[in-house]
Amino acid sequence: MRWIRPIAAESQETADTVGGKADGLVVLHRLGLPVPPGFVITTEACRAFLRDGRPPDGLSDEVAAAKAGLGSATVSVRSGASVSMPGMMDTILNVDKRLMPSVEAVFSSWNTPRARTYRELHDIPHDLGTAVIVQAMVLGDRDEHSGTGVAFSRDPNTGARTPFGEVLFGHQGEDVVSGRARTHPLHELAEREPAVWAELLDALSRIEAHHRDACYVEFTFESGVLWLLQVRSGGYAGAAAVRVATDLAGEQVISRTEALLRVSPQHLVRTPRMTADHVLARGLGACPGVATGRVASTTDSAVRMAVEGPVILVRPETSPHDMRGLAAAAGVVTERGGPASHAAVVARSMGKPAVVGVSGFTIAEGTLITIDGTSGEIALGSQPSTTTADAHLARLLGWADDVSGDHTERAEAERLRAAHAVLSR
């Protein structure tokens, strides 16, 4: 095969050729984890397509032959470049007969103006092209023992060593993204599908051991059978990055030196965090900080109620009409939208804690709530918040002082920088 590679344990290809997503799937195969049968069309084929405006000779035949080998009537067609460009390119699900047009659509999505802008902003060359992954469809909406979800091996908000994520029963993954269906906390999988849960935990632990870092997977289970669709490792920020690095060193998975090098001084920037025992709802944190106030469900009521005390504006989404409500509120919650939504952009410009994408969130006007714009958590009542250093940071900075030999009192970032300076000598 000139343009196609199998996604299999024995693959010798690099991410440059098959993209980061396929590379991750190959690792999953090597770890003996369940991946739907599939193949990948190389970035070279994409480059040829973008150069000539048509698929390279032979690609169409290779794709037809490889698809026949999958033993599945319907396939998914996903983009996957050698560098991560989340959400910028196309993914097409449930493709049955006309596979090549879908492949060409994904190739072409490399060059949308939006994708080009993203690459300019993130210093990614324009000439890489994307690989295209074709896999047998696994159906999260097949029956009551099917579903889809995402799972982190450790809590990305705190770094705590507990699996974290969301699961959607009886749906396909696109329903999570579109907000059409309400997700459940990941641990509900343990009660409803204990076999899938056990398999998922085992997978997370094997992937962690391989990468020696926290990891993230996207998964689907079909009639009680688990399939992994994507994997990433690392990428934690702030206090969570500190805790993961310190814990991994404590578990003797990595050395203390490596733990120090994995934490950047920017991770030490402190933002207030909520410390609530019970979380009412969860969305995406869009602007860090903690705010407590009474729920106002319209801009008018936010302005009216703000006279009496702080309010949290809770809207399906925001528009220019909500500007004075946003100005009057101490924080904002939206049901729809992501980190680049109108509400998120405005909240950041005003420095107000914001939680977005809390699907199906309904709460009575006037209810007192507290929101955490880092974790995306919402709790009832007035909840305490903290900016103090936790034990993990104290421990890590102790190691930093041991490395630098300087035990004088200094700013935290200084202590870490001093250790980095010694380690990079």
Partner: protein, 195 residues
């Protein structure tokens, strides 16, 4: 002119006369006399207080929807405006990406604007984006001339940002993001598309 003031207020939400004048491209005294007439008709109201200002009444919203749709249909501009709206919606996620990149660095830390090279790079992409936005604005104003005001305001916001007034990117009421969001609202209101 009364529809212009009414509809501007419909798209920008509660505001004072200076802001309405800036958005509509009128003088403050023109806006003020229109607002008085509109208030007499019960279409706008003035709320006191820190977050107050002029805004539409429920009757005002109904009247605006009728008049702005009437203007659209009598100009037979719906097909052209709908087409240009789809072009706008292609650009919309990219603009939000740009605003997000302006506010948050790729490591998830808020941009404190101390890295001039980074800010320069993002502004460079805004310029590139704006060239394409101007093309869409031209299509919009070919369908209905009043949309040209958005091209003027977007261009002005970017010019100010480039001159060092960084709040004109994504902070505050005259910023590129705010004007873009008002344009979005205007298109939804004019075409009668619910949010």
């Amino acid at each position: 002119m009364s529809l212009l003031v009414l509809h501007t207020l419909r798209c920008i939400g509660f505001a004072g006369t200076a802001r309405i004048a800036g958005a509509a491209g009128l003088t403050e005294s023109e806006v003020e006399s229109e607002l008085i007439d509109l208030a007499v008709d019960g279409l706008v109201t003035h709320l006191p207080g820190e977050f107050g200002g002029w805004g539409l009444t429920d009757e005002g919203r109904v009247a605006d929807a009728q008049r702005i749709t009437g203007e659209l249909e009598s100009a037979q501009a719906r097909p052209a405006l709908t087409k240009a709206f789809h072009e706008f919606m292609v650009l919309n996620p990219e603009l939000l990406d740009l605003c997000t990149a302006w506010q948050i660095r790729s490591n998830g830390i808020l941009n404190d604007h101390s890295d001039i090279a980074y800010d320069g790079r993002v502004l460079g992409r805004f310029n590139d984006f704006h060239e394409r936005a101007v093309v869409v604005c031209a299509d919009l104003s070919a369908a209905q001339a009043r949309f040209d005001r958005y091209r003027v305001r977007l261009t002005d916001a970017l010019r100010r940002a480039a001159a060092g007034e960084l709040e004109y990117v994504a902070d505050g009421i005259g910023s590129y993001h705010a004007v873009w969001a008002e344009l979005h609202e205007d298109l939804l209101a004019t075409l009668g598309i619910p949010r």
